[in-house]
Symmetry: D2
Subunit: 382 residues, 4 copies
């Protein structure tokens, strides 16, 4: 049941926090707070467990994991004592990290990625490897005719030039190498008809997109509340102030637009109409890995009486995302073992912009996840 | 299908707002915003409709409805134009209001209440009358051995002295007169073994307690969110600043304690543990019918990282409560027609302190309500 | 001592609110809340008084004052009873309003404006007329060589084409007609060397810019607090959500940029450095005349300990601005009578972007204003 | 110019944070952020400097300073690296700490305190010793006739029994031993006629009470803002959620009442009237040394329009208080050297409940402090 977790962006904050956490939980040094599959309602239902996960991954940077761990400890994202306690095991993970390959054609790059995945699986005697994208958000790619079907895509990739953005190329490489793919970012990932075709051909599941870690999580419970009480939401506006690498990246207009669109989608989907207002994202280097979001909701009650609600969310994105990475690795591996292929809409609970025509209210998503987990085959054989 | 709604506290803000609203909706002057049974998911499923409701009630004060309506318009609770538009019909309701009776024994008082209910039903040719308590909150009553069973209760009420607090006496009188009883306040109402026995003997349903209109409503969606994400809530503290009659009353220590206890109950029930912190209630005459609640939640994520959330809710209690009164009258009448008797735990969605061993998360309560509504008999015959 | 107040934008929310207020205060119907010159420390020191003010003005629209007053009452900006009570006097003001003139050259337009000002003064037997701009914010104008000196400006205005933006043309016309000029908007107004030269030539005072009514007011007391306590402000970010005519206008990029720059200026001026962060302005039609601003301040204390403060301001811009219009009319008229000419930096208390090299902390500005008021000549003769 | 700082409560969070900070600043390891006398406007004007301060003190507990420093580092109050860097010097301070003496009579206890002060001065060759109370808040003491004059006080102290609460006994002992006294807590301290008489007899200054570190600091700039704008504050309510030792102590009703009264005083003093509302203090162990305060202000503008403001302050009390301890030690020593005796109302800037009939607005207090500092004798001789 040893399962590989191959992280695209393996030296980033989310990746390293999830590694430190998994190692510390395995050693009994800390509790699995924030891991959905370890909540009382779902505990012990999904194999592999956290202790079965083996980490590897690609990154464009080469900052040592130990150095990154020290940075995270300095920033208050992980306790310094934990970072120190798992230092040795973290260094062992270092051996499984590779620089992101680049070949003359995108087909060549995909083959190189696949070779790294095969090497990781063989060297560690893994039943499965799940590929998860936790790298920074890409701008939306230009459309390309080869996105529409697998045959043309394969042909186009064999030529020089850029057909797929990096996240979609990673998805292509993962699926081609027999690995399920999860995209935790708002980037394209597996969301192209050609890649869906590939997943079905290879009988592999995929999941995404855009992990739901803060303000959107809150929206996904408040918006259904207004709907169920038949209160009319007139405006819903928000601002996200964030530092860290993701924040800096989001100042690039394309990436920002992708992110803010997926943040408002939950409102129209759960209310049945789109209230006035937008969600802004501003980068403030000084906030580090922490994020502050403020939302104002104005609404109308009986006889048109105007009322309002505000909330402030002050969270640490890496600490909110990292345990979900462990959950998603486990769930996707279990789904694969259960023979699921194509998109996994049952994992909508984890995403801002979920795959499929699914409910956007958190409670319904939870119910769907609960059903999914409790009906997975018990999973004693790989 | 004409259904009577007999309000205890019929000249108060909640009661008069619900009357104005029902009259205005019936005349097509305003939309039924805030009425749960008029939301897209539940519309047209429950009979009686809002247009079938006929209002009457008791009150200890004698302020004319028209005067109260003008006050509510001045305070921004109802639009002045609506209050004016329904003035004539409101004056017609005036004929159905009675001063709260008081006899030498509580049994005598109950008989006098029952006579008023009979008179209301006969004069208006009503199929059913539902009694709803919207009067100010009582302090918790001293225990009395006669609360435990119906026989001793009847005997004790026949003697001089106070056996039941006013809300429970109203419930006793209502049920004895063949009327379902709903308590929208945190007062005792029908929550005594002797009264449950009476309800079952008379084959009548009852519901309550303590309408969920603001801060607790928000808690009932946020607390499940933290639980489902396996985030550990360390503290949850709040303060409610409110004016109006209810606020003044809540400065009486007994009433305040009853209210704050029911406000924190949702946390322990949905989280599975009680975080540190309390909910305070302060009275500020100047806030009028509006209420501001502020809550601070501190929680722990992955690896113990501390995070926090705050929210402010600025609502108008009367405007939030009034449409629920219409919903509860309709639902309780429909339940009675469907042959339901005893407590109605399916209405937990409406209450801070619901009857029965029910879920406290709003989403589950909504699901229960939805099932209840869609499985009620279609209701063409009384 | 009868003093004319000629408002550019005389049919807008701020203008009409200030007219209604002045009329109602004069009739003893309401207290002068929000009028700085009526606070205990400054009361009875400045002539003219509110009762001495006579209103007139220009506007590009022709919506009747009475209709605008009804709109303001409907929006909760002025009490309906007050709007009704002063209806007759407001209709009398209507006679003094003129459409904004437009001639073949800007010199011609200025002469037409001046003729309207002369007509107003003569018809009402006024000692002075003060011109105050309360129209919507302009985009920053393109530079023009004639802005630098009065001679070239006069020559350029006589030619066809646009030399001055509307606010500066109004300032030119006012000063040329012997009237002091106040700009309550972030537009150019009198802030051009050529116009300063004109004011000194005509021995007239002028004041501005950009009335300080909400978030910036709060900043101007909080920023000095951090400075005086030697706490290091790391980030200061904010968002302003506003409806109304001004909000719609501010979505035009040029106007928005002008406004947000003047909002952050107070920080650098009072802290001595510019913290990270920006102020956003978003338009939400549904908020009407009300505005909600939220600011987050992160700061560093002893030994670098990180702390934070947030505030939300929910104000009605017209109700905050209108009393200041009365103050500024009185102060500028008094300054003129006292022989002051050129800019009036002593009025910095009222402005986001004050003229001159003045303190930006509110307390110092108050002290300056207090000294100015108490040292004005007693003012018994015109 | 070596000056002793004798802290009552020398092993508490505030005391140890101020020691660590002074040692780290002296060694150039950190900047004097939060030290008012190190702000650009006041820098280099007051002798002694931070480097001239020598620490000693009394405490009822015996937790080693090094252990306390580690706790503070763990709680995020001081950086772990700084705590480690000054460990050796902190251990040197340990030699100057003494258990709080207790003799058969309060006179005897005072003499023992005085002996400790003399010993500290002689052993360290100090020009002056300033005694500062940073221990936990006492309940208000019962009145005693001997509080009124020095003669009767001396007589009463010589008898068995409790005449003075601990803070006042410390003030008596300090003044009797020739040391100025500062009370940073809301306790009685030197605020008794008999102790004022003693200070004047011994020609010593004293200062206090109740350090202004958070919510009240903000109030002291916002309340003058409302007053200067002639906006009518209708309600001002707040809640303080705090952990730490001080929080636990404040759950004792007497101490809580003392604290909340001093928190609202600023409003009546700066507004000229007391708005509705109260300040609550709740203890939440989990918040540790951090405190969250929330305030709601509702106010009335022009023509009675209702508006509102909220703020949240999330601060670390020890980190806010500690630098002020260094300021107060330096200022009081300088005042003594300058021959000042009796109360020091010029230090009102630092206190919630300042001595004397002084302004409560922060800006005026700052102006007073600035004048005081710049008119102190240059101070080259002791």
């Amino acid at each position: 049941m040893r399962t590989g977790v191959w992280l695209i962006g393996a030296r980033g904050s989310v990746a390293v926090t999830s590694m430190i956490g998994a190692l510390a939980i395995r050693s009994g040094l800390t509790a699995p707070t924030g891991c959905v599959l370890e909540s009382p309602a779902l505990r012990d239902l999904v194999r592999p467990g956290i202790a079965d996960l083996v980490f590897g991954g690609h990154d464009v940077t080469s900052v040592p994991l130990e150095k990154k761990a020290a940075e995270l400890a300095g920033a208050g994202v992980v306790p310094a004592a934990l970072a120190t306690a798992v230092r040795q095991e973290l260094t062992a993970v270092e051996r499984h990290l590779r620089p992101l390959p680049a070949a003359a054609t995108q087909a060549g790059t995909a083959r190189a990625i696949g070779a790294d995945l095969d090497g990781f699986r063989n060297a560690n005697d893994l039943d499965h490897v799940v590929v998860i994208n936790v790298s920074t958000t890409e701008p939306a790619p230009p459309p390309h005719p080869a996105h529409a079907a697998l045959g043309p895509l394969r042909a186009a990739l064999a030529e020089p030039g850029t057909v797929l953005p990096p996240s979609a190329l990673a998805a292509y490489a993962a699926l081609s190498a027999g690995c399920p793919y999860v995209d935790f970012t708002p980037s394209t990932g597996a969301r192209l008809p050609a890649l869906d075709e590939l997943a079905r051909e290879r009988r592999l599941p995929y999941a995404g997109n855009d992990g739901k870690t803060g303000e959107t999580l809150v929206k996904s419970v408040l918006a259904p509340m207004f709907a169920q009480r038949n209160l009319k939401v007139r405006t819903w506006s928000g601002i996200n102030l964030l530092g860290g690498g993701d924040g800096a990246n989001l100042t690039r207009p394309g990436a920002n637009a992708a992110k803010t669109a997926s943040k408002q989608r939950v409102l129209a989907e759960t209310l049945g109409y789109a209230p006035q207002g937008e969600t802004r994202i501003d980068y403030l280097e000084d906030l580090g890995d922490f994020k502050t979001a403020w939302d104002l909701v104005t609404f109308e009650g009986f006889l048109g009486t105007g009322m309002r609600m505000e909330f402030t969310w002050h969270g640490c994105d890496s600490a909110l995302a990292a345990p979900l990475i462990l959950d998603l690795a486990r769930l996707t591996a279990a789904a694969r073992r259960a023979g699921r292929h194509g998109p996994l809409p049952e994992l909508a609970f984890f995403f801002k912009d979920p795959l499929g025509d699914v409910p956007h209210g958190l409670a319904e998503q939870w119910h769907t996840l609960h059903t999914f987990v409790t009906t997975l085959p018990a999973g004693t054989t790989p």
